[in-house]
């Protein structure tokens, strides 16, 4: 009897030990599946759904929670993931206002967070926080490089009054100063404005060689139309937040000839072979559209494919140091993300360092031109 008890106990212990040895890697996903940013969060979730079942031989356990585009819900979800599920890494959120407060939770728990939104954190706060989207600086580099090639000497700025506009103005000012381009007029507007006639009049009377419009999605249509209706003859640039079909839908013919900067992922097939991301971008688009149908690609689905690439590179390094589910593994994973070096993704070339958790290199941005209502890559 006692013997039998002992063997049972031994078996249980052995099973437990085996369970420890084969702990799954828990991926916590916090995304806006409902609410205003659901258009961004759902593609990320869809992209994660087609991930392989294992990374480096370890089974993946993916827990997806909806933050409803609400910072409070996002924080609650994150707390649940780090305490109950012992998540090894958190992916999210695609809504910047949600991703920022989540960072406090992940930093305190010591869990790496891979954000799918371009959230800015105060210096020193982003030790556990990594970003998948490109920074505005990298995009501004591509815009200004293109302006320089087109012999643009003066530029006018027409941007949102919010953080997006402000960050772009900063990035543009820095890049333009480096390249001897002068910003001759800076005008602001809000997404909900019914008219930008005043701003456009001021811009066109300063007569710059080019105008950069900083707006997002369908909000980019109204200023675009206003600039064209004023009979502006110079070049018009739009930022990567406007690189969607919404620009053509809301601006119609007035979008023709506009230059739009973008990440490489959504224009995979058109990329020149010399672009480093060509192969990764094509692979993402084919994989995603095979499941979700032709034309379903978008920027945010690309981030989930890239997050997989990043994890596939970092997880094997971290596995050598510790077992998943432990604080040591999470710390090792963080270090691995920081030290993984130049990594080619669908969205560009990423190189996270201890100083820089944005990390895209200047090879990333691609310039598109609107031709006959579609985006064409500028060679």
């Amino acid at each position: 009897m006692t013997f039998k008890k002992k063997t049972t106990l031994a078996a249980v212990l052995a099973l437990m030990a085996m369970g420890m040895a084969h702990a799954d890697i828990t991926i916590g996903v916090v995304q806006p599946l409902t609410g205003p940013a659901s258009g961004l969060g759902i593609p990320v979730k869809n992209g994660i759904m087609i991930w392989p079942k294992t990374i480096a031989g370890e089974t993946l356990k993916v827990v997806v929670l909806d933050d409803a585009t609400d910072p409070t819900t996002g924080v609650k979800d994150t707390q649940r993931l780090v305490t109950e599920d012992k998540a090894d890494v958190i992916i999210g959120s695609s809504a910047t206002p949600v991703a920022i407060p989540m960072a406090d939770v992940t930093a305190e728990a010591g869990t790496p967070q891979i954000a799918t939104s371009p959230a800015s954190l105060p210096p020193g706060k982003d030790k556990w926080f990594f970003r998948m989207p490109q920074s505005n600086d990298v995009m501004a580099y591509a815009v200004v490089a293109h302006m320089k090639k087109q012999n643009v000497k003066t530029v006018g700025f027409l941007g949102y009054t919010d953080a997006y506009g402000e960050l772009w103005l900063k990035a543009l000012t820095a890049e333009a100063a480096k390249n001897g381009i002068k910003i001759v007029a800076t005008e602001r507007f809000a997404r909900s404005d019914t008219s930008v006639t005043g701003q456009v009049l001021k811009l066109t009377s300063a007569n710059p060689d080019a105008i950069l419009i900083v707006a997002s999605g369908s909000g980019a249509g109204m200023p675009q139309k206003a600039v064209m209706e004023r009979g502006y003859k110079g070049k018009v640039y739009q930022t990567h937040a406007a690189a969607t079909q919404d620009l053509m839908r809301t601006a119609g013919k007035d979008a023709e000839g506009t230059f739009v900067v973008s990440g490489p992922a959504t224009v995979a097939e058109q990329l020149p072979d010399s672009h480093p991301s060509k192969a990764a971008a094509v692979a993402f688009v084919q994989g995603y559209e095979k499941v979700y149908g032709p034309g379903s690609r978008n920027q945010f689905a690309g981030h989930s494919a890239d997050a997989l690439t990043v994890l596939e590179k970092a997880v094997p390094v971290a596995l050598k140091k510790a077992k998943p589910g432990t604080p040591e593994f999470r710390a090792a994973l963080r270090d691995a993300l920081e030290g993984m070096g130049r990594t080619v993704l669908a969205h560009g070339v990423l190189n996270w360092t201890a100083q820089d958790h944005w990390g895209y290199t200047t090879e990333t941005g691609v310039m598109l031109k609107v031709v006959n209502g579609a985006f064409k890559v500028e060679q």
Binding site: P36, S192, T194, L201, G219, G221, M222
Partner: protein, 346 residues
């Protein structure tokens, strides 16, 4: 700044001001008759513009189903109140049917027309019907049982209605904005000015609506009943005017004004589900200039708001909204100094 820039800015300001004028008058109308500060006025604008936009994509807008649900709720409320009041189920059913039938017909026609890609004129007409039908139903469901409450309570209800309508707008129309095709795609050069056909339509429609409102209040019995209710609710009731009917009529009119404003503004800018709030707020500033009581005052205030906004966006675009909403301070100061102490309820 030279004359041509000034004239372009003035024209642009007046075009927007004409829309604010309509909304300002809607707010004055609702406030004088029902004492409700109608914050959701702007939501009718967004609903109008976006309902037409969804019709344009060949779908049936979600507002149709919302209208049907709202009509159902209102009919149920009518059924219960009338039943309890008169004690007869038949009377209750009759009252419920009266509330339900008209919105139901509008819904049926819209659901039929949705996927058929009818001409834009027909779709615009349907949009006006749908959004106008919201007015009395919103009054029935949210305000009617509180009609005697203080204006502060009614204001709080308005805030609630505003949030509900914005949230539902997001659900039905999505987060992205729409721009409607212009009703009249024509541009005329007038010296330095470049007048678009749509701007002319806005002026013509605004003027026509203002004249129509004037005629209604001066000449028709309904208009006089509304004016009587505005002057003295109790007195109007003693004269046999139903304050409930007056409230519903007022809300129908203000929803009609909102829907038309939405159709007018839809082709000139990108309208989002939440765009209406700021537009309505500028109408509110205009109404405050008119002391929430004077129609000509609101009209002048609206045109001033439009022009100040347009010049503000030229001189200091980052502070445009600040400038527009700061106007309200000197106006309030001037009003309170001029009228001495307030004789309104507290």
């Amino acid at each position: 700044m030279d004359l041509s820039i000034a004239s372009i800015l003035t024209l642009d300001g007046l075009t927007n001001g004409a829309i604010y004028a309509l909304l300002g008058m809607g707010i004055v109308l609702v406030f004088t008759v029902t004492r409700v500060i109608f914050i959701p006025q702007g939501e009718f604008v967004a609903y109008g513009a976006l309902t037409l936009a969804i019709f344009q994509t060949g779908k049936t807008p979600g507002t149709v189903w919302l209208l049907l649900i709202l009509a159902g709720v209102a009919a149920l409320m009518d059924l219960v109140t009338t039943w309890r009041h008169s004690g007869s189920a038949a009377g209750g059913l009759k009252a419920a049917a009266r509330t339900f039938v008209l919105p139901a017909i509008i819904c049926a026609v819209s659901a039929w027309a949705g996927p058929r890609n009818l001409p834009i004129g027909v779709q615009a007409l349907l949009t006006v019907f749908i959004v106008t039908a919201f007015g009395p139903l919103v009054y029935r469901v949210a305000y009617q049982s509180l009609a005697g409450a203080s204006s502060l309570v009614l204001l709080i209800v308005s805030v609630g209605v505003h949030f509900a309508m914005t949230g539902l707008g997001l659900l039905f129309f999505g987060a992205e904005g729409f721009r409607n095709p212009p009703f009249w795609d024509e541009r005329m050069a007038l010296g330095p000015l470049n007048v678009s056909g749509q701007a002319l339509i806005i002026f013509a429609m605004s003027a026509a609506l203002i004249v129509l409102l004037y005629l209604m209040f001066e000449r028709s019995l309904y208009g006089k009943a509304l004016r009587a209710t505005a002057v003295n609710r109790l007195g109007a009731r003693l004269m046999g005017i139903s304050t409930q009917a007056a409230g519903q009529l007022t809300f129908a009119m203000t929803a009609l004004i909102g829907a038309l404003s939405g159709l007018l503004i839809g082709p000139t800018t990108t309208v989002f589900y939440d765009s209406g709030f700021l537009i309505g707020l500028k109408g509110f500033v205009a109404a405050v200039v008119g002391g929430l009581a004077s129609y000509p005052g609101a009209l002048l205030g609206a045109l001033a708001v439009g022009v100040i906004e347009s010049f503000g966006s030229f001189w200091a675009s980052s502070f445009k909204e600040v400038i527009v909403f700061t106007i309200i301070l000197p106006v309030l100061l001037w009003r309170s100094l001029r009228s001495g102490h307030s004789d309104e309820e507290h």
